[in-house]
Symmetry: C2
Subunit: 472 residues, 2 copies
């Protein structure tokens, strides 16, 4: 009798796991249960779909259930796994379209249930027009709202990757965008000095940014009416904006210092691993709050693996588990879990937390630890920041970039880097990521034989300039 692999979740990690398991063992029964209506989609493309760069949501679908069936992978959408029984090796599944639940038997189980956007109980968070962006359904709903409601005022809550990308996306629809964050800087994954460049870029593109402003409530029409001294102005303002005035939808976002008009809100204050199911089954959760896994993506329970945004990853710089829920890591961990569930013994190489975001004309990239995180981890931290040209300074297209290297004082061991600039940023962070994988010092980094040609790089690449300054 064939062994049966059940995979909970059919996006990045789950689909990578399914595909790799199939390649590893052609005889395995492979079943994927996905809660949403779509599998195998590129969620990171949603802001660009919403903006309109990508015309059709289908462009983001890597494989449909039909294509997966051709690979002999049974992918079921609208199927939510309600419970895992590790002793009986079963899952309880709800077909959300029929409402029926059933029990399915597994020999091997991979949990790739992903993460959800945190939705704290802020008054009014459930109002129409307040969106999170995680699933395909979210993306479709936001684009539909933009195209049919034609909002004029957008508030984005959370100034991380998605917040920055969504600022550009909303603006492309003619929306005046305000970005609010409870932190004292944008891009919390950067040090404040580097995040300042991102803030300047947002402001240069007419995005209003309010920092240290936690959202207190979202206000709909009834409440607006009730607040007598504001009602007249609001009704007037609303009357010409094409959004029905009487209908229940978000009208305002309230923070300690601001009352922000809003007919669309994107709420994105970070993601949390969907661990409830695993936790209920006795699967160990790590110090980060995500599922603890070893290098083979095994959980503490036999025959159960976890991968992607539901799981931790080993951080090569700290030597400790970290929660870095990125699509790159999800794809890699999924492959490892899939191979191993199909009989292999592959090991995940760990992460250094390399990430990049494009905010208008600025590319913002980082890898490893920021200075503040390195200090928090107890490293005796030093840093250098240099400004240098992306290409030979005399060439057209050359742009200035800021490179910050974070390293350990004394040993000069490289701990992380941040680069912001308008040209040649993303791939440069990758070279430093390689240096972190190798465990190099700043001197090792400065020894690198990097390419040079005036149209693409200066003779002393910005990476080398930074490393040399650190080495003095």
């Amino acid at each position: 009798m064939k062994e049966r692999l059940i995979i909970i979740g059919g996006v990045a990690a789950g689909m990578s796991a399914a595909a790799k398991a199939r390649r590893t063992n052609p005889d395995l029964d492979i079943v994927v249960y996905e809660k949403s209506g779509y599998v195998s989609y590129g969620a990171c493309g949603f802001p660009f779909f919403i903006k309109g760069d990508i015309p059709h949501i289908e462009d983001l679908i890597v494989r449909t259930p039909a294509q997966m069936a051709a690979q002999n992978i049974a992918a079921h959408v609208h199927h939510e796994v309600l419970a895992i029984d590790p002793q009986q090796r079963t899952v309880q599944v709800c077909n959300q379209q029929t409402g029926q639940t059933f029990t399915d038997q597994w020999d091997k189980l991979i949990i790739a249930a992903g993460a959800s956007v945190a939705r704290p109980p802020i008054p009014g968070i459930g109002l129409p027009g307040v969106f999170t962006l995680r699933t395909t359904e979210d993306a479709l709903a936001i684009r539909n709202w933009l195209e049919t409601e034609r909002p004029q005022h957008g508030v984005i809550v959370g100034a991380g990757y998605i917040g920055l990308e969504m600022a550009e996306a909303l603006q492309a629809h003619g929306v005046a965008v305000t970005l609010v964050d409870m932190a004292d800087q944008v891009m919390p994954t950067l040090d404040a000095d580097m995040a300042a460049h991102a803030l300047a870029e947002l402001q240069a593109h007419d995005v209003t940014v309010y920092l240290q402003q936690p959202v207190q409530s979202f206000i709909g029409p009834a409440q607006v009416t009730a607040i007598a001294h504001r009602v007249a102005a609001k009704v007037q303002a609303g009357s010409g904006d094409g959004v029905g005035n009487g209908r229940l939808r978000v009208r305002e976002v309230i923070t300690p210092d601001q009352i922000l008009p809003a007919d669309i809100v994107i709420f994105g204050i970070g993601s949390r691993p969907n661990v409830a199911l695993a936790q209920a089954a006795g699967i160990a959760i790590g110090p980060t709050g995500a599922i603890a896994v070893d290098a083979q993506q095994r959980t503490n329970l036999p025959h159960i693996w976890a991968a992607g945004a539901v799981a931790e990853a080993f951080h090569l710089v700290t030597g400790q588990p970290a929660y870095v829920p990125l699509a790159t890591t999800a794809n890699k961990q999924g492959r490892i879990a899939g191979e191993n569930a199909a009989g292999g013994s592959a090991e995940f190489g760990g992460v250094v937390g390399t990430a990049v975001v494009q905010a208008f004309d600025l590319t913002i990239a980082h890898t490893g630890l920021t200075e503040k995180w390195a200090k928090a981890h107890g490293f005796n931290t030093a840093s250098v920041t240099i400004q240098a040209s992306s290409r030979a300074h005399y060439m057209p297209g050359s742009a200035s970039m800021h490179v910050k290297l974070v390293y350990e004082q004394g040993s000069q061991r490289l701990l992380g880097a941040q680069i912001v600039g308008k040209d040649g940023v993303a791939q440069r962070i990758n070279t430093i990521a390689a240096a972190l994988h190798a465990g190099w010092t700043t001197d090792d980094l400065g020894d690198l034989d990097l390419c040079y040609a005036p149209p693409v790089a200066p003779v002393w690449d910005p990476i080398l300039v930074a490393a040399n300054v650190a080495g003095r």
Copy 2:
């Protein structure tokens, strides 16, 4: 009494050496003798100056002799060193503007005499209109010829970096360009399969390319007249082109199969280290024909260092000396030599031979060994070549690139890589260069945590795709 450092050559290696020696030891007497009329120029920018991207030759000058004097470095242009006496610790110098020679005393000597373009004794190579491109004077003469003679037909001999860049530069002046090379491919530093993409790009931009065509002679007007059956056509063709017909200048380039009209020729078939001076002084030449140096850039003679295109460099992949005369290496070696001549003991980290060239819209980059060179070095070589998108495939601006990884069969040790494409190529080769410095396998490369965002990179970076295919 102050110690005196004499540096022979004032371009990349020489000027880096002077600057670093000054920073290392403020009390040192530092004298630079440069044969040409310019010091401290970015020679790699010449094709872009000639093309017109860079308006003024001064834009390519990093520091003038006056600026160097302000750093207490005496830089003498038009001064050729004729001889080195290692016993007496002197050099014999000719001031080319006065014709006078004199002897100068040194305590420390750095040879940074660079390289010259090979000029084999091909008949007619001395004709006006036949140029090499190495010095500032060469660059000025070529641009002047283009602007005053307004040539219609250009022949470039040698399809390496400079040949490709000059094809674009000449075309920008309305010149119909033919590129000839004696080899059976363009870009000899690539494998033939990857070079084919460069050839296609040249041809797509109306550059006529003839391979396996060694130049036999350059023909001037007298010879053209003498060849009776061709004279009428040539005089007619020449009469309307704005180039004086009677004047002695190049008219044709003759190869075994072609008679190519030419009123400008760029002759660039590779460079050779200027070792005659060193050789005459008893300085050891290495197996590559360049000056042998150790990691501290020391020659076999005490108190004499060598750096840049006159010297070898230790190749980290082969573990042997190599001749890789690149500006990046020259700058790094110059710094090492300068620091050590000033009392330090710095060591050069070695090279992996990373280089890049832009040919029209195509970027061509490589690092480490090509497959043919790896085989010639005795490696049991394997390779993979993949085609992948530079960004998420659905994003505007995404372009296909070809990535070839060369590795050792069995050990999977990475030996080199070549990338060609129109987007995101140059910096990607640097990540692989880092992998070569680290001595990684293809699996190690495939483990890298590289950045992803749809506008800048796909979730599986082309580097990872290639590494994963190699790892199967």
